[in-house]
């Protein structure tokens, strides 16, 4: 039985990629560890991200109309394939919890300090669960409305902040040791660019799968250029202080004040986080429940959306002890932890599929 009957266009896929990559990166801009050279780390990370995208889109292109769970069963056999799929589903589930955790921390710290984290997270999860229950097409349409607005806000914020920009803050260029820069660049690739590996659960539902790779790359390039712009802006506005703040984008936008009327635009950054976080969490929840449904041969993924969503919220509430531990994981552990899921599984599967000449001719699109 077909678990997902919806189809999305390549344009919708690109927009979803933009929304997904923006996700929590709206408030935690990538490459922060490189200080004022964050934009270089972003550019290098984007290149590595494109390479990783090339690997997993090549896999999706080879097995048209199949998700990673189905591909694993074909390539490794039923039992081993399902074990590998469970690992991949764990990554999607854990990543969803991490995004929710970022969400909760930001709102607790900056917007609603008196509201319990669980309340906000449950409300967000209800909206995401409702969207996921309506299928990938509805999610893609939400992306079509929300992602362009976020891009518009990011560009407008940057234009309005121009009077406060001091380009001397970007000097000296390449101030960080090259080893550290490369580590931060890899961190930028793994968060957020290579996280698009989650789309291995979505690429099967693109109406023109042969154009899927270019659509994913296009989305990644658009978001990458916006991140580079944001990194330059944050460094040029905040200078050395940029490394002190947890949420530099939020602080950088606070300086906008045009004629005492047009100010407090940081609220727009918070709205961007809400909308893009919603897209990212929804896609991760969708991938998790669809993957579980395929692993257990269920007839529908809809009955398990809410229980999985609640488990994701529980993991988000308990997965780290405090903000420092979260930041340490984001800057150190995550870039290594993510490698097996972002590069390992897709690359090894692609190589084995090529060696075994899978899928057999005539079985594609069947």
């Amino acid at each position: 039985m077909l678990l997902e009957k919806g189809k999305i266009s390549n344009f919708q896929l690109s927009v979803l990629i933009v929304g997904f990559v923006f996700g929590s990166s709206v408030i935690i801009p990538p490459g922060q560890g490189a200080g004022h050279d964050a934009w270089i780390a972003c550019a290098l990370g984007l290149m590595e991200g494109l390479l990783i995208v090339w690997i997993f889109t090549a896999l999706a292109k080879q097995f048209k109309d199949k998700t990673i769970v189905e591909i694993n069963s074909l390539v490794y056999g039923k039992i081993l394939g399902k074990c590998i799929s469970v690992l991949f589903i764990w990554y999607l589930f854990h990543l969803g919890a991490l995004v929710l955790n970022n969400y909760a921390r930001f709102f607790k710290l900056e917007i609603y300090p008196a509201t319990p984290k669980a309340v906000g997270l449950l409300l967000v999860m209800l909206v995401c669960a409702s969207t996921v229950g309506r299928g990938i097409e509805v999610l893609a349409r939400c992306g079509l409305i929300l992602a362009p607005l976020t891009l518009l806000v990011a560009v407008t914020d940057t234009l309005l902040v121009i009077p406060h920009i001091d380009l001397k803050n970007l000097l000296p260029i390449l101030d960080v040791p090259i080893r550290k820069l490369l580590f931060v660049s890899h961190g930028t690739a793994s968060f957020p660019f290579a996280e698009t590996v989650a789309f291995l659960m979505v690429l099967a539902f693109v109406d023109k799968p042969e154009k899927g790779p270019s659509a994913v790359s296009r989305g990644l390039l658009i978001s990458g250029f916006i991140f580079i712009m944001v990194a330059v802006r944050n460094a040029a506005v905040l200078g050395q202080m940029g490394t002190v703040y947890n949420y530099p984008t939020y602080i950088a936008v606070q300086v906008i004040d045009i004629g005492d009327i047009f100010n407090r635009l940081e609220a727009l950054v918070a709205i961007n986080l809400i909308t893009m976080g919603f897209i990212k969490i929804s896609i991760l929840l969708y991938g998790t429940v669809l993957g579980l449904a395929q692993v257990f041969n269920l007839r529908s993924y809809r009955p398990i959306i809410l229980p999985v969503g609640i488990l994701m919220v529980i993991l988000a509430l308990t997965n780290v002890g405090n903000t420092l531990e979260m930041l340490e994981f984001a800057s150190k552990g995550y870039s290594i932890y993510a490698v097996p899921f972002q590069i390992g599984i897709p690359l090894i599967t692609l190589v084995i599929a090529k060696l075994r000449k899978l899928p057999p001719k005539g079985e594609v699109n069947s």
Binding site: I314, N319, I336
Partner: protein, 69 residues
């Protein structure tokens, strides 16, 4: 607090179960029941302020220790 959890969880369970039973989707019902039970138990533990292991912190400690970073 725990009573609220019980009511909320029961409502959550009552919503899809009749449909699944009517369609005789037993496998889906078992999956739902297992996941729902896990969510319920963890929620009750959280509301009783029982500390659950911080999984991300454990993963980070393991990775940073293994790679010396």
């Amino acid at each position: 607090m725990i009573a609220l959890f019980m009511i909320g969880s029961a409502m959550l369970a009552l919503w899809p179960i009749p449909g699944l039973v009517r369609k005789r989707w037993w496998k889906e019902l078992i999956c739902f029941a297992v996941l729902w039970s896990m969510g319920f138990i963890f929620s009750v533990m959280l509301s009783m302020r029982i500390n659950l292991p911080p999984i991300t912190t454990i993963i980070n400690k393991y990775i940073t220790g293994m790679f010396g970073i």
